[in-house]
């Protein structure tokens, strides 16, 4: 019922997550919950999962990444952090206490620039230009395929994200009124204003996006 989105632009990664916390399947406990965790100054991880696994695993990874920085004096790059996360998740997978989490890792480092990694609950990790977790994927991946291109500016990426959020709002049965947005670029992590679906529905984007 939860949704994570990520879009990699020319020199930034745009991360978005819904803000609903549900209980017993049907009750919306909270509608302003932040599902993203700051790993380092230029690395963000958004997580969804069952029964507390999401926060437990995310905090465990975040603390270990900080420990690496303290021991070695420099931050892990995005790829290294993703590999570390994948190794942990894969090791726990065949233990008695596997973590059931889906995550997106978005970061910026000097060697690779902006990168976005998709990881599912089985610990399959892959670098992608854009990604969505949750039921929201069924409503938005095609839109992203149509309008995404390699060199997107922040403005274009935000337009694309607005389209996707509008489509989820129109067609997904669960109500997700707000999305937390963060941008990771060379200057670090920037919190933007929460994005809400406009009334227009996903098929009507701004004129500039047509054609």
């Amino acid at each position: 019922m939860e949704c994570l989105l990520g879009i990699k632009g020319r020199d930034f990664v745009l991360m978005a997550s819904d803000c609903v916390v549900s209980a017993h399947g049907i009750v919306a406990m909270k509608k302003d919950h932040d599902k993203m965790f700051k790993m380092t100054d230029s690395l963000v991880m958004s997580v969804i999962g069952h029964g507390g696994d999401d926060v437990q695993f995310a905090e465990y990874i975040a603390k270990n990444i900080q420990l690496y920085r303290m021991r070695n004096g420099y931050n892990l790059s995005t790829k290294e952090a993703a590999t570390f996360t994948r190794r942990n998740l894969a090791d726990y997978l065949r233990s008695n206490t596997p973590y059931s989490v889906h995550l997106l890792i978005g970061g910026f480092d000097r060697e690779e620039g902006a990168s976005l990694y998709y990881m599912d609950y089985l610990a399959t990790s892959t670098k992608v230009p854009f990604a969505v977790h949750g039921y929201g994927a069924y409503f938005t991946l095609s839109t992203m395929d149509r309008y995404y291109h390699d060199d997107m500016t922040q403005k274009e990426a935000l337009h694309l994200l607005q389209r996707c959020i509008d489509e989820i709002n129109t067609r997904f049965v669960i109500n997700m009124p707000t999305y937390k947005i963060r941008i990771v670029d060379k200057d670090g992590i920037h919190d933007l204003d929460d994005m809400k679906p406009t009334g227009s529905g996903g098929s009507q984007g701004p004129e500039s996006m047509l054609g």
Binding site: A123, S125, A131
Partner: protein, 205 residues
């Protein structure tokens, strides 16, 4: 829902005259949903030795990492490159260690022996049963289609160019008939003195 067909994929290797070729599709999907079209399933274990892994994507990544670790240690201890048939034994051991909780992958090995320069193609099942092939080896969700295509197109003693044509046509036409495989293909042609890598554009669906 079978675990081996959760992600989908296809690997194929063929033997030629003094050369081998290994090819794979590039799709990473979760059942019907395609997530990525550049997921690597073939890994280099030596300058003329490649292993392709088909099956559950997380185990493809875990086994390739664990195998590379073992091969690195082997090469440090022995101070020489690993032979293809030794790699087959290492893979078989790695998989059989997990006999009652296996990695859900079926590997295909293609390489040229570093000393005798013999071409070598082999495969295993998910618990490490080794099989050396004199012609071709296939693995994946469309293995039946791949067996049919390989049986029709493979002939003995193909040159590298003929081998490239044969393996490309065989893989492309097999994955086109499988919903869970495809979205592009990558082919490595391994000869005595070089490795050529080519990407193919297949039906992107």
């Amino acid at each position: 829902m079978s675990i081996m067909s959760y992600n989908g994929g296809a690997i194929m290797a063929m033997r030629g005259k003094d050369c081998v070729a290994i090819a794979a599709d590039r799709r990473f999907g979760i059942q019907a949903q395609t997530v990525s079209m550049d997921f690597d399933k073939i890994f280099e274990m030596g300058p003329r030795l490649y292993i392709g892994l088909a099956g559950l994507a997380t185990d493809i990544q875990t086994v390739s990492e664990r195998l590379k670790f073992r091969v690195n240690l082997y090469e440090l201890r022995e101070n020489r490159r690993i032979k293809p048939k030794t790699l087959l034994s290492v893979v078989s051991n790695l998989l059989y260690e997990r006999r009652f909780g296996p990695y859900f992958i079926e590997p295909v090995i293609a390489g040229i022996d570093p000393l005798t320069l013999e071409p070598y193609v082999a495969s295993c099942d998910l618990i490490g049963c080794p099989m050396v092939a004199k012609d071709f080896a296939v693995s994946g969700t469309c293995s039946e289609q791949m067996y049919g295509m390989c049986e029709s197109l493979w002939v003995e003693d193909m040159t590298p160019d003929q081998l490239f044509e044969a393996i490309s046509q065989a893989l492309m036409n097999s994955v086109d008939r499988d919903a869970l495989s495809g979205w592009g293909a990558i082919v490595h042609i391994i000869e005595r003195d070089r490795v050529t890598t080519k990407t193919l554009k297949t039906r992107m669906d």
